[in-house]
Symmetry: C2
Subunit: 350 residues, 2 copies
Amino acid sequence: SRSIRLAVIPGDGIGPEVVAQGLKVLDSVLPSDVKLETREYDLGARRWHATGETLPDAELASLKQHDAILLGAIGDPTVPSGVLERGLLLKLRFAFDHYVNLRPSKLFPHTVSPLAGRPEIDFVVVREGTEGPYTGNGGSLRTGTPAEVATEVSVNTAYGVERVVRDAYERAQARPRRKLTLVHKNNVLVHAGHLWKSVFDRVGREYPEVTTDYLHVDAATIFFVTQPERFDVIVTDNLFGDILTDLAAAVTGGIGLAASGNINPTGAFPSMFEPVHGSAPDIAGTGKADPTATVLSVALLLRHLGYEAEAARVETAVAEDITGRGSVVRTTDQVGDALVSRVLASVQTG
Amino acid sequence: SRSIRLAVIPGDGIGPEVVAQGLKVLDSVLPSDVKLETREYDLGARRWHATGETLPDAELASLKQHDAILLGAIGDPTVPSGVLERGLLLKLRFAFDHYVNLRPSKLFPHTVSPLAGRPEIDFVVVREGTEGPYTGNGGSLRTGTPAEVATEVSVNTAYGVERVVRDAYERAQARPRRKLTLVHKNNVLVHAGHLWKSVFDRVGREYPEVTTDYLHVDAATIFFVTQPERFDVIVTDNLFGDILTDLAAAVTGGIGLAASGNINPTGAFPSMFEPVHGSAPDIAGTGKADPTATVLSVALLLRHLGYEAEAARVETAVAEDITGRGSVVRTTDQVGDALVSRVLASVQTG
Ligand SMILES: CC(C)[C@H](C(=O)O)[C@@H](O)C(=O)O
Ligand SMILES: CC(C)[C@H](C(=O)O)[C@@H](O)C(=O)O
């Protein structure tokens, strides 16, 4: 009999609320012979306030013993900016070598986009997850004085760029349109930009069926709002990917629907799935949080673990739920229940 | 009698076409006692192909003898990416210490925004222009091998951050809404982010009437499309400013309307005015380029040199022209002529 050992990090703010719905849907969709073992980790603002810890080594070692991680959201206004992000969220992405940060963007039927008209949006951003300006390299000198100098070093390696670019070509190759766009800023960031562009071109010769193009990041933001239909797969650096995927979420009906996977494709470490949105402390506890992004992240988790049919059922349930949304405001829990019902109904008819 | 010594760099692609219209409008609006002396500089792709030069020292020294610079656009696909950008455009911004890169965004009546509804947009981005990831610091090791490492160093100084932040507070203080938003990514880029935030907070104590807030750059892109009316003045780093101002141009009806000023507020060096758009080689020579962004850049130039009434007349002419635009397609030259007519009419009635 099969099993999934799932580590759960509910985290801060609305994190626990949306994770609860994700788990409900996961439970409802798994075949009965699959044993789901979950273990919850108390990490985030509460833990830091209580003990000063963000991610102790023992916890990291324990997390590693899992098939995957489901994370809600990390961050709280009572904790200095960067402490939990660098000490917990980014530490996990780096420690578990999540070099593919996968962020699909799709405009579901009936979703209201802030863009006029009815653009067709169905692309996926493959964001590099372990390098670039996110390494924490850099520092500050004469901090707090009028002579302070602060640096941030973007580190890019052929090793790191090639593996994520290759992953992106594979994904583009597997999609009907077979188009891959590199986004960077190689007219200004010439060193890193040259590395990205030359690796992109070289690896591309192995994928003759994939059409490629290149855009500067500033121009890419324009096309995200004027011509989002031009994109299929996008590969980009860690920081550009961060910026572009929030913009992508905004134009596809909001951050409440944007899922992500922090993936280690080699399987050497557990991959981690989380909504793109943050902990939204302003609405925590009100039942207003939309759990859809977490549920879609569960679909990515299922696909990553080989449960393709189940992933598709979850995505269909979400698409139906969004299409059927009226003007009635539902609680976090009600949305979760509705998704569970649709998932269960699909097993009976499907 | 007064005079303006203006250096003109038409540049590449549509640059010369739009600059010609900008000069026409400038000529038409200046009071008759102001002597306009222009000197044109042959810099850009043609020059580089012919001589290998981007910006020789003698040219730089000569440019320095002017009151201001009007630039069209720099960049051509026949020149390796970065050569003209770093060797000419950025060299000018750095050599002339253009630490305030001013980019207003306004949705004119009747302009079609890609955003649904009719958002109110009237904000200005104060982009730092001499530091951050644009310094060219960094390099690559074992270039072209599988062991390559390429770095880009973002350099931020208290000196550099404080002067641009102070300029932004002054601008916010002078506007009716008196609101200033700092955009950075201080939860990840903790060294630079901490410097920016602490300078922003400290200088802010001198401007008690200015309301402030802080946004991460990724969240800022969301608000640009969902709530652009929340912004008044934004201050941000060189790279974030580059990305955000293209997005701002897109949501306010296109890059064809976005003006910018690379300003040295001390007056030690000439400031430089240019449209935000690039050289658009695909439409060069077709008469399709919209010169409006260049004309609005001329308005910024006039204001910078103290010709406030003339700046306002140019801006009014543009607003009227945009409002009166029908579906008839006009050439670059026709738009320029229409703006000249409106400017001339305004002197008779105004
Ligand atoms: C919280 C923050 C560190 C994180 C990031 O910048 O990667 C978030 O914005 C994201 O996109 O997952
Ligand atoms: C051409 C390029 C170097 C430039 C920049 O990145 O600053 C442009 O995008 C701009 O915004 O003026």
